[in-house]
């Protein structure tokens, strides 16, 4: 699935560089769910996530000439999306306008198993420190391994592994406590 997207995106890249907007639209369609989902999981606000996704693609359009391949394009999108999400969260923290738990919920949860548990898990992920949150999202949403995550976040692989380990322990502990309280 991922390699198909990489090949498809790579095929559209040359035409987009030549100014073919329909090819660029193809790139947007092929990658919009990835960018939007990362932004949504990070910000937990559909409107903000969509605005950020739009900005990321417009930024991509400006930088198309510097993109070398489909794989490079996808890696570029992930890196820029995560960095913009981190910036947005830090800005929001500074402004202290919106508490994460009060952030509006614009879309219904994707889970069909236990919507409440999944929703709680998403809230817990959103409460993680920015870098840990980025690592968990890239690991379990984008299915990236620690080496790939390290390259996107520009940090050592061991740091990624330790932060992931700490984040998982924290999430697991909080989920277990919640389930114990419920039972």
């Amino acid at each position: 699935m991922a390699s198909v997207t990489v090949e498809f995106t790579g095929a559209l890249l040359d035409r987009s560089v030549q100014g073919d907007t329909s090819a660029f639209a193809g790139i947007v369609r092929a990658n919009q769910s990835m960018v939007y989902s990362v932004a949504w999981s990070f910000l937990r606000d559909g409107g903000l996530a969509e605005e950020l996704t739009q900005d990321v693609f417009l930024e991509l359009y400006k930088n198309l000439r510097h993109i070398e391949s489909g794989a490079h394009l996808i890696s570029w999108l992930r890196r820029v999306t995560v960095n913009r999400c981190i910036d947005r969260v830090r800005k929001r923290k500074r402004e202290a306008l919106t508490a994460l738990d009060d952030a509006p919920e614009l879309q219904s949860p994707a889970s069909h198993e236990d919507p409440m548990a999944s929703e709680h898990l998403r809230k817990l992920i959103a409460s993680l420190p920015e870098k840990q949150r980025a690592i968990v999202i890239l690991r379990y949403q984008e299915d990236m391994d620690p080496t790939e995550i390290a390259s996107v976040l520009e940090m050592p692989v061991n740091t990624v592994k330790s932060k992931l380990h700490r984040a998982l322990a924290l999430l697991r502990g909080k989920m277990e406590r919640r389930e114990e309280m419920e039972s």
Partner: protein, 115 residues
């Protein structure tokens, strides 16, 4: 892979932006491109204005330098002319003085001889 990781994957399933998202992005692309071009033209106009100003200032300064040099050269020429005139006058006066002292000397000798 364990159960908790599966639950994380489930909770973090991908989702789609609202319908027509790609079209909205594409609709903004030409605007963005026009904005970029407008910015380019503005930058070019600003650079051109700065260059014209710098060139004009340079040309003005060059003219001033040339005029100053010409004035200095004219003053130099006048000074040299005045010095030459003065030297000629001094020479003439000196000649006259020499002539008049010779006449006096001859006259005295004549007087001695006569005595």
């Amino acid at each position: 892979m364990n159960d908790f990781e599966d639950r994380l994957r489930e909770a973090l399933k991908r989702r789609e932006p609202s319908a027509g998202f790609a079209e909205r992005v594409i609709a903004l692309v030409p605007q963005r491109r026009a904005t970029v071009w407008t910015m380019h033209w503005r930058s070019i106009a600003a650079i051109a204005a700065v260059l014209v100003l710098a060139f004009s200032a340079g040309l003005f300064e060059w003219h001033r330098q040339v005029e100053r040099a010409e004035r200095a050269e004219a003053a130099n020429r006048q000074l040299m002319y005045a010095l030459r005139l003065m030297a000629a006058k001094i020479e003439r006066v000196q000649n006259r003085l020499e002539k008049s002292s010779t006449v006096v000397k001859v006259d005295r000798e004549d007087i001695k001889g006569a005595l």
